[in-house]
């Protein structure tokens, strides 16, 4: 029921919305919850297990009951808190976890079976017969579980992530937070004030009182205006600080456009739905307030039973009375304010039921002292409560019950780094442990300071303390006058009696469940939580945990302090995966690296594949070629017979210079590089410190103290970091400098019998067997551009790699192809490159997979005996020199079935196919058009000793079971005549 003119809503601006398909009207400034209450809608959802009717309990993000779905199609957003969702024109929301409707939910039958569905019942049944778990029991349980439903379609809404930095992060904008921000802001500190709510002011927005002689919301507005005018203060409403991490790092979620109609937000207005913030703050003030807690009694879960502070908030902030005959049930003075404010607005208050015998009297409403509510009635809406007092039990007609079991300071964020809060008997609440988070000072209700004046004072002092911690001294600011009423409470957790009294409203955990858990020896608070699911709902126990552990303490005969709390974990409020993962949608997950030849390749029909972060041409389809194999076979033949051009710029290139460059190479490579002559290139192998092969590649000596190392594409980063490790940690005395030049140089392989013709005609210098013999390198110019030429080959053909600064890469690639075409050549891709290298027995990371040694690869000869090198010591472990290790061999098919398969395993032909007989596996295969059959490389136990043997190759997944011959891995031109020619 709306109260005309009351609250901070705009009474003359109506907003149309719908709930469960029915149209309603609310006001600007409403939340969905306040608008529903104004329309007298109380039944909004169903509980998780028993599908009990659920109404609005709170007025904040801690709401456990009023979770709804909003949006349509792919934009559907499940589990939206109605208490947090601001109303906008056209908002359509639906109840969840109910079918066919929230009024008539067939699953409510679960409630009748409740005696059999108590704490942990599922651990004790559904075991026989075993297969029925997956077939019958689990599907039923799964369907019944869960709250909202995802749309099933990809989320297309925009989200963002951002970083922010400040001197002081103030979390919460109630009296403590505002004073902290004012104090720090006036002193010139960089301040971020983050507030979960859409409107700043915190609890002050929900109260009727005076601050500085003005109505409280006027004081709030003035304070905000002052803060807004400061350049050094950033106000962040709708922003929940979700986590506290090491060294002043905080995470926060800003709901940027949840409050706007889709037409005014999202892509059209370039507003993300949410933004996930990473805030680096030198210091922080936690002024997150407190959360009111219910009292457990029989049937305390009906719609219409609400928190007393929430009832007051709906009245004072939104001008809504959630009932016509409201009753208050409390164990503290604060809840009496709810009755007072209601009466002041002419709402009928039936009584305040206070469990304390010394509760204060009121002239405005009846106070029944030393009494409790022990039951309630009403199916979809509260109709009556039963009061138990010294006079016995008595029914009272009421349509709304405002409950307060006291307030729990919001200590959550103080616990994210492992601290546990401390029990305070006087306040009957957990308070933050001092200095729980380095640099964080807690103030106001979060710190157990509940009066307005106390919070103002505490907030101002907290800012001074926090800033002093980072060496900034700040003057005290004058404090406004405000109420300093004491907070008086006498603990009451659960009203004794029969029946089910709820603790966790969403997960349907009752006092009985906790008591049963204790009886079954789940006495640790963690055991109780895990056994009953108490506190595991979407509110993570914000409303219920303290009462539940008080009940557990009682059941186990321990104090609350001894019983302790479960662990508070981030995030403080549930945070969408989309916000935390923003930027990764579609192609955004990893950087994309494109070659300079990319566009030209595509024009030549390239099919691209991802190679690490790079895109490379897989093959170049020509007219008439319908499969990749046709293209690949043609390209291999082209390289073997004419000339092929391939962009190899993805290989890591490291430019190394300095007097000790050769020493570094001798340290990192297994073989000698200090003997490498100027103008020559050498192949090298490098080991990890554990003796396994890290990478291979060539290094060219371009000058007296100048080398260029190439690495494989995959290991480029690892090798760079390794060199930095060796030169900074192991040998800082080396006088050497190096840098990655992978992106600075475009490099192309030109391979084939006509490679020299092409290169010689292209570059300004003479290229012949004298000037550029095999494994030579040197400076050249191409059309006036200074470049480099390397006479190296990964195909076994007479080949070059020609490099120019990357800005000339595309031009050179086009030029190379233009010159190759008339020679019968052209581009070749990764598929052909792979076949060419398998024909030659050259290895890639298919073979160097991190578990092979130089010995395994037959490259022990490359491990110099003249010097030591990095990784050599552990490479000489007995187990790594064992002849039975899997070692590199070539395979070629014998018999009828000519298929080989990468990933197949190898067996003796007469052995059974089982693990114990496993001799190895196939690393790489390809069809060799040169040889006319499949060839493969494999790691085979004792491989080199089995040359000429027949071996059985089995790939279950591809249905291949065939015989192969073990052969030398160099299939083609083993003498190497072509490469030197």
């Amino acid at each position: 029921m709306r109260i005309a003119g009351k609250g901070l809503v705009s009474h003359n601006r109506t907003v149309n919305f719908s709930f469960n398909g029915k149209d309603y009207m609310g006001l600007e400034g409403d939340t969905l919850a306040s608008a529903l209450l104004a329309n007298d809608v109380h039944l909004v959802g169903r509980s998780f297990k028993y599908h009990r009717p659920r109404g609005i309990l709170t007025a904040g993000s801690e709401e456990p009951n009023a979770l709804v779905s909003t949006g349509k199609g792919a934009a559907r957003d499940p589990n939206i808190r109605a208490t947090q969702q601001e109303l906008f024109e056209g908002l359509a929301a639906q109840s969840q976890n109910c079918w066919p409707s929230v009024e008539r939910d067939v699953m409510a039958v679960n409630d009748l079976a409740a005696p059999f569905l108590g704490a942990g019942f599922y651990y004790k049944t559904f075991m026989w017969p075993a297969p029925l778990w997956e077939k019958l029991y689990e599907p039923i349980i799964r369907r019944a579980a869960g709250l909202g439903a995802l749309s099933g379609a990809a989320n297309k809404d925009p989200y963002e992530k951002a970083f922010a930095f400040c001197d002081l992060l103030v979390i919460g904008s109630g009296p403590a937070g505002l004073m902290a921000a004012l104090t720090a802001g006036r002193a010139g500190a960089d301040v971020i004030l983050a507030e979960d709510d859409s409107r700043m002011g915190g609890r002050l927005l929900a109260e009727v009182e005076e601050v500085d002689g003005k109505p409280v919301h006027v004081w709030v507005a003035e304070a905000l205006a002052e803060l807004e005018a400061m350049d050094n203060v950033r106000l962040m409403p709708r922003t929940a600080v979700t986590g506290v991490y090491d060294h002043g790092t905080y995470s926060a979620l800003e709901r940027v456009s949840h409050h706007l109609p889709p037409s005014q937000s999202l892509k059209t207005a370039h507003r993300p739905r949410e933004c996930f913030w990473r805030i680096a703050a030198k210091a922080s003030v936690l002024a997150a307030g407190a959360i009111e807690r219910p009292i457990a009694f029989r049937n305390n879960d009906r719609p219409g039973i609400m928190m007393a502070g929430a009832v007051r908030a709906y009245l004072n902030r939104w001008g809504v009375a959630p009932g016509e005959r409201i009753t208050v049930f409390a164990n503290n003075d604060d809840a009496h304010r709810t009755a007072r404010d209601l009466v002041a607005e002419g709402v009928h208050v039936t009584a305040v039921i206070d469990s304390r015998h010394d509760a204060p009297d009121s002239g405005e409403f009846p106070v029944i002292k030393g009494a409790m509510i022990c039951d309630s009635a009403g199916r979809h809406r509260l109709e009556s409560v039963t009061i138990r007092s010294v006079n016995g039990e008595e029914k009272l007609q009421t349509d709304c019950l405002a409950v307060s079991g006291g307030w729990n300071p919001s200590v959550h964020l103080t616990c994210h780094m492992g601290a546990r809060p401390e029990w305070n008997r006087e306040l009957a609440a957990f308070l933050p442990k001092p200095d729980a988070v380095p640099g964080m000072v807690v103030a106001g209700a979060a710190n157990g300071v509940f009066s307005t004046y106390g919070a103002l004072q505490d907030g101002a002092q907290a800012a001074i303390t926090a800033l002093a911690g980072i060496g900034t001294s700040v003057d005290a600011v004058p404090l406004p006058e405000a109420s300093d009423a004491p907070y008086r409470i006498s603990p009451l957790w659960a009203v004794p009696g029969k029946g089910r009294a709820w603790l966790d409203f969403q997960n349907d955990v009752t006092v009985k469940d906790v008591a049963q858990a204790a009886r079954e020896n789940f006495r640790s608070v963690e055991h109780m939580k895990r056994y009953t699911t108490q506190g595991m709902a979407t509110d993570q126990g914000k409303n219920s945990n303290v009462a539940a552990l008080a009940v557990l303490a009682d059941a186990t005969g321990r104090s609350i302090a001894e019983t302790g709390v479960t662990t508070f974990r981030p995030p403080f409020v549930p945070t969408s995966i989309a916000a935390m993962g923003a930027g990764a949608e579609d192609q955004g997950f990893m950087p994309q690296r494109y070659l300079t030849s990319h566009k030209a390749s595509l024009q030549r029909g390239a099919a691209n594949i991802e190679v690490g972060l790079w895109y490379r041409a897989s093959y170049f389809a020509k007219d008439g070629e319908s499969t990749w194999r046709q293209s690949c076979d043609r390209e291999v033949t082209m390289v073997r017979n004419a000339v092929g051009v391939c962009d190899v710029s993805t290989l890591g290139k490291i430019d190394i210079q300095g007097p000790d460059a050769a020493k570094l190479l001798d340290l990192v490579y297994t073989n000698l590089f200090s003997t490498l002559k100027l103008g020559r290139v050498r192949y090298g192998l490098m080991l990890r410190e554990d003796g396994f092969v890290m990478d291979d590649g060539t290094t060219a000596r371009l000058g007296e103290n100048h080398y260029v190392m190439t690495t494989t594409t995959a290991a480029a980063g690892q090798v760079m970091a390794h060199l930095e490790y060796l030169t900074q940690v192991v040998r800082p005395d080396f006088d050497v400098r190096f840098t990655s030049v992978t992106d600075q140089w475009a490099q192309f392989s030109v391979a084939g019998p006509k490679a020299r013709d092409l290169i010689d005609a292209l570059v300004d210098e003479d290229v012949n067997s004298e000037t550029f013999p095999f494994m030579a390198c040197g400076a050249i110019t191409v059309s006036g551009v200074a470049g480099r030429l390397f006479r190296i080959s990964f195909s076994g053909e007479h080949a070059y790699e020609i490099a120019v600064p990357a800005r000339y890469g595309e031009a050179l690639y086009r030029l190379l192809l233009e010159r190759a075409d008339p020679l019968g050549g052209g581009p070749y891709g990764m598929e052909a490159l792979n076949v060419l290298r398998i024909e030659k027995g050259f290895i890639t990371h298919s073979e160097i997979n991190g578990t092979v040694t130089a010995f395994d690869l037959g490259m022990q000869g490359l491990v110099s005996k003249k010097k030591s090198c990095w990784g050599k010591a552990l490479s000489e472990r007995d187990g790594l020199m064992d002849d039975d290790r899997m070692r590199l061999v070539g395979l070629k098919p014998v018999g009828a079935m000519q298929a080989l398969s990468a990933g197949a395993h190898l067996f003796d032909p007469d052995a059974t196919v089982e693990r114990v007989n496993d001799l190895g596996y196939v690393t790489s295969v390809g069809f060799s058009p040169t040889l006319g059959h499949m060839i493969g490389l494999a790691m085979l136990s004792g491989g080199p000793d089995r040359m000429g043997d027949t071996i059985r190759l089995v790939d279950h997944t591809r249905g291949i079971d065939t015989l192969c011959e073990v052969v030398n891995p160099v299939f083609f031109d083993p003498e190497g005549g072509r490469v030197r020619g």
């Binding site: 090491d246 680096a280 340290l667 900074q728 940690v729 800082p732 005395d733």
Partner: protein
């Protein structure tokens, strides 16, 4: 976590990579036992721990960081090149 690189200042730890315990490097020819201990065995303390990080997404500097493995408090940072972990001389 934020680590203060001596060259770049305080940076988010996503700019850094971690290698492990900061241990003096044995001589290349000191044999399997010493290298086994260096590469594999770890004191693995719950408390202050000296470890190697690299400011890989920044200046590339390797750092020796003294950090509490329980609280994550960073007690000291220095350039690894000054940390005296250098390899021992070969015996031969």
């Amino acid at each position: 976590m934020r680590i203060t690189c001596p060259l770049c200042g305080a940076r988010d730890h996503r700019e850094f990579t971690y290698k492990g315990a900061a241990l003096p490097v044995p001589a290349l020819d000191s044999g399997v036992a010493e290298w086994d201990a260096h590469v594999h065995l770890r004191e693995n303390p719950a408390g202050p721990h000296e470890e190697l990080w690299q400011h890989a997404m920044g200046c590339g500097a390797w750092l020796k960081v003294r950090r509490n493995t329980v609280s994550h408090e960073i007690l000291a940072v220095e350039l690894a090149q000054d940390a005296g972990l250098v390899i021992k001389e070969d015996r031969s």
